[in-house]
């Protein structure tokens, strides 16, 4: 080892590594996005294609689908690192694990949360959501999906060592997603019916900062537990 990385260098390094891995593994990371589109397609088929009904429930549908897609992709945050042992190297590094965890979660959000932002306007338009509500929808997705990744990381860290972690993971994580779902969907609904959604947006922002500051510590503790 000729030189030591500073903390910010380590953060950027880990972020770049994860993004590069995702880039080489495009098919795997496209799945949650496809799943998101597919789930939304199911609703008009199940509920009938009446435009007023779809426009009314569109915020709820899009957010439930985003929640499920986020859950589906969670496992990839730590799974491959756990399997090939690089997770232990991260835990052994001289830098605070919480910061490195934050780098991994950011990478995960960039490859799974951000693409939802690009598809959502298309789907909102297809469901007949009013244009005024679409900007609010995008804003809630922009603020809400990082929270999903951050909370989900705790769940994955707790279950990554288990053989059948998947079903347990959903039981752990979905109840904790409830506040995000409520505020994001009701912000969009408010905007759709012509009210001011800023109160809910501020609440979402508060959740975002709370989870950025607390979740990496819990995730780091859980990872230490899983790797031991």
């Amino acid at each position: 080892m000729s030189h030591r990385l500073s903390l910010s260098q380590a953060f950027v390094f880990l972020l770049r590594r994860d993004l590069l891995l995702a880039l080489r593994n495009r098919a795997e990371y496209a799945m949650p996005l496809l799943f998101f589109v597919l789930v939304i397609t199911l609703f008009p088929l199940a509920l009938g294609a009446s435009p007023e009904l779809l426009a009314r429930i569109a915020p709820g549908i899009i957010w439930v689908a985003a929640l499920l897609a986020a859950m589906l992709s969670l496992d990839s945050i730590f799974r491959s690192d756990f399997d090939d042992g690089s997770l232990e190297q991260i835990l052994l590094s001289a830098h605070p694990v919480a910061v490195l965890v934050l780098a991994k979660v950011s990478a995960h959000w960039l490859v799974t949360g951000l693409p939802l932002l690009l598809v959502a306007p298309l789907l909102a338009e297809m469901l007949g959501m009013p244009v005024a509500a679409q900007t609010t929808l995008l804003l809630t997705i922009l603020i809400g999906t990082p929270i999903l990744s951050l909370i989900g990381a705790i769940g994955v860290a707790l279950t990554v060592g288990l053989r059948k972690g998947g079903i347990i993971l959903s039981l752990l994580v979905l109840p904790l997603y409830v506040p995000v779902l409520i505020f994001a969907a009701s912000a969009t609904e408010n905007a759709a019916s012509g009210f001011d959604p800023s109160a809910q947006i501020y609440m979402l922002l508060a959740f975002l900062f709370l989870s950025i500051s607390l979740s990496p510590w819990a995730t780091a503790a859980a990872l230490r537990m899983s790797a031991s």
Binding site: L162, K164, L172, L176, P179, S186, N190, L214
Partner: protein, 241 residues
Amino acid sequence: MFLWFHKLGSPPHFYRIAGKWIPWLGWIFLLLLAAGLYGGLVEAPPDYQQGESYRIIFVHVPSAWMSLFIYVVMAICGAIIIIWHMKLAEVVLISSAPIGASFTFLALVTGSLWGKPMWGTYWVWDARLTSELILLFLYLGIIGLHNAIDDKRTAGRAVAILALVGVVNIPIIHYSVEWWHSLHQGPTVTKFDKPSIHWSMLLPLLLMALAFQVYYVLALFQKCRAELLRRERNSKWVEEL
């Protein structure tokens, strides 16, 4: 004081103390339960609005209180586990989870049975009902996670982290659900004004709450003893029993 605390943390000592307390707790529980039920079902007058059917609060309200109380106990155990790695706290945490889940379930069932004659429906997506339901899922998540991990020491730490994360989230979930309801203009009228409660109803209610509290400690001690035996089955003090 510290010595007492330290001694209580040792499994054989706790096993013996808990064994001595269990019969006493059982009798106290039965006495309180009998007094509370008599006061609630016989002595207390019928409500002027709800008639006799309000009497279910003597079960419903204490179990709802217990469902929250037990979660807080579990979170405190979680903190103790993370900070001091205390074995007994792991046992208390995981033994509390099924009891807490049962009380939550009981609160939901009695609540919906009460809701049918009062509101005309078993279930509404009201703030309290929804957050109680989510609390039940949190309990089940903790039990599920504990069962999924084979090594029980690791499992103890995992559920400790989960319980702590959950306790941060419970107020958030509670208030978000409450605000969501008020933001929505709910379709059903679920509000009914609670008349300030008369002592003839309050006294049995408090007796029942106390009885449930004692029952929790009683059930907890029994479950803890069983769990301790299971975990320490290879140790010397268990063989000596």
